[in-house]
């Protein structure tokens, strides 16, 4: 083994834990796969940064004249433009933007005059727990529902689960959020109708104010995930090796847990990864419903104030998170199922 490939070893350990495979992994092939994925990660990020910069650049309206109002003198505007760096060439601004982000400097907000990194960090403490909370809820609801439906195919339980998911997919999450507010906040008064208690008020109070938003985000995603879980498990349960396992005397339950689920979880894992991006994006609208001070509200405020640097940086950050999660999912995918390495 070449010394530079040692970094793969922990991943191989993970692979062994998951698959129970004792066969030594093919290190050069795996190394090449990871290198290829890593390269495509960087290319994606690079192109994403071009697209975002370009879209924001073509935005009509000059931030400096917007900030100073319609009565501002031309020389005042010019002074502000040079202070904000708007008088430099597009290329120079792009390079300083990307370079800054690489070193953790996201620039300074035009309107708030505070570092964007600081603003993002504050808001992240709302958006990230919300997305994770919703992801956990959605997984906890969807996997049992999907497994239940797949192990009773065609029975009334299966039909009930599938009808519920069909409905769940059709419900807009912001409307569902309004209904939750109406029932649990206004009528029953179990939760507050909006706002965020803040982590200073204690984890319990903070989680409580995130509960309704997380449920609203999670249920439609859970409907999709339950359907994926069901169909993946049904596919696996139709395979020959399942029949073999049954033939050698394993009970239905043992077959399901030992052979069925472990294989069916592969596509489910991919979807869970992809859902993270839906949850982050969906959180933008849900944050509006519940008046949560998260990244979504920050983007909206920044857009309406023409605070382009904030818009650019927050959107880039969201895209980065999504691309990174997909990259990690790709890696796990390969570890779990070596047949899939390098092919699509």
């Amino acid at each position: 083994m070449e010394p530079k490939q040692f970094w793969i070893l922990p991943l191989c350990g993970l692979r062994r834990l998951w698959t129970g495979s004792q066969r030594p992994p093919n290190l050069p092939v795996m190394g090449r796969y990871f290198a290829k994925r890593l390269l495509s990660l960087f290319v994606s990020l690079l192109v994403a940064s071009w697209v975002i910069f370009f879209v924001v650049e073509i935005a009509p309206g000059d931030p400096a004249s917007f900030m100073l109002g319609i009565n501002a003198q031309p020389d005042t505007i010019a002074a502000l433009r040079s202070e904000l760096g708007l008088d430099q060439s597009k290329l120079a601004r792009y390079i300083s933007w990307v370079g800054g982000m690489l070193t953790g400097d996201f620039g300074t907000s035009y309107t708030y005059r505070t570092p964007v990194a600081q603003m993002v960090a504050d808001r992240l403490w709302v958006s990230l727990p919300l997305a994770l909370f919703a992801l956990i809820l959605s997984t906890l609801i969807a996997l049992p529902a999907g497994i239940f439906a797949a192990s009773h195919p065609g029975k009334s339980g299966d039909i009930a689960v599938m009808s519920a998911t069909q409905l769940g997919i059709a419900v807009p999450n912001f409307w569902f959020a309004m209904m939750l507010v109406l029932i649990f906040a206004i009528n029953l008064r179990w939760f507050s109708a909006g706002g965020f208690a803040g982590w200073d008020a204690g984890a319990w109070a903070a989680l409580r104010s995130l509960t309704l938003p997380a449920i609203a985000l999670a249920l439609p995603q859970a409907a999709i995930l339950a359907r994926v879980m069901r169909s993946a498990l049904l596919d696996i349960l139709g395979e020959d090796f399942i029949r073999t396992a049954r033939a050698k005397g394993l009970s239905q339950r043992q077959v399901l847990w030992r052979h069925g689920l472990r294989n069916a979880l592969i596509p489910v894992l991919t979807i869970i990864g992809l859902q993270f991006s839906f949850l982050l994006a969906g959180a933008i609208i849900i944050e509006q419903v519940f008046y949560l001070p998260g990244l979504g509200r920050l983007v909206f405020q920044a857009i309406s104030a023409r605070d382009l640097i904030v818009v650019e940086s927050v959107v880039m950050l969201l895209v980065f998170a999504v691309i990174l999660v997909n990259f990690l999912v790709d890696l796990t995918y390969a570890l779990v199922d070596p047949r899939l390495r390098g092919t699509r």
């Binding site: 994606s44 935005a59 419900v171 912001f174 409307w175 309004m178 109406l182 069901r230 818009v311 999504v322």
Partner: protein
Amino acid sequence: MSRSLVLGGVLTGLVLMMAALSFVWTPFDHTAMNIPTKLQAPGAEHWLGSDHFGRDILSMIMVGARTSIAVALVAVGIGMGIGVPLGLAAAAKRGSWLDEVIMRANDLVFAFPSLVIAILITAILGAGAINAILAIGIFNIPVFARVTRGAALSLWQRDFILAARVAGKGRARISVEHILPNVANLLIVQGTIQFSLGILAEAGLSYVGLGAQPPVPSWGRMLADAQTMVSLAPHLALVPGSAIIVTVLGLNLLGDGLRDWLDPKLQRGRT
């Protein structure tokens, strides 16, 4: 024909008929305000109640259906119009630089959180139905490109394509004359699904104020208006919400049913 095909067809048909009917008849003028009869619950005069300006909700729902359908339909058209030729081209030149570029560009669009970019586009180009169509349509392109390419690739291996090549037809002509008709079924099913996603996306964008602008009614904005009054008059939120759910549910069922009907091999395990 399956139950989902019938039910989906009926629900979708009802919504389409309601939208069509709104061109010639609505119970009231959907913009007519009448403050004395504001916030009425559903009843004999206003069948589905009235809003905070006394406007008739049924009339607004009927006209709003036009907005939703138009935005989602044109967005599907953009996706198909650009995505399908790209997918056909990628499959016809499998493994070439063209295929590689098209598929990598697709991966990239998939990696973007679509709603974030849709919000960015509409916010920057300005809120309105046209920009909402663009924002939703862009994300339909890779979906159709991928579906078309996947199906076309397996068709290129078939004997009848070989026969066409032996007969001297070029790749472009084969794509149009032989591949396209054979992927049409799949595209119809995918189109139905993207249509329903478009309805949801349009509702989301107009809910945050980035979709169709007043006085054009839209279901999403009706929900946004309802938000502060939901405890006084729950029907303000219930009616537009139900309209969205019925439409999306109908289209999804229709897509499921069409898929089973057009391609019996795929009957089991749709996600």
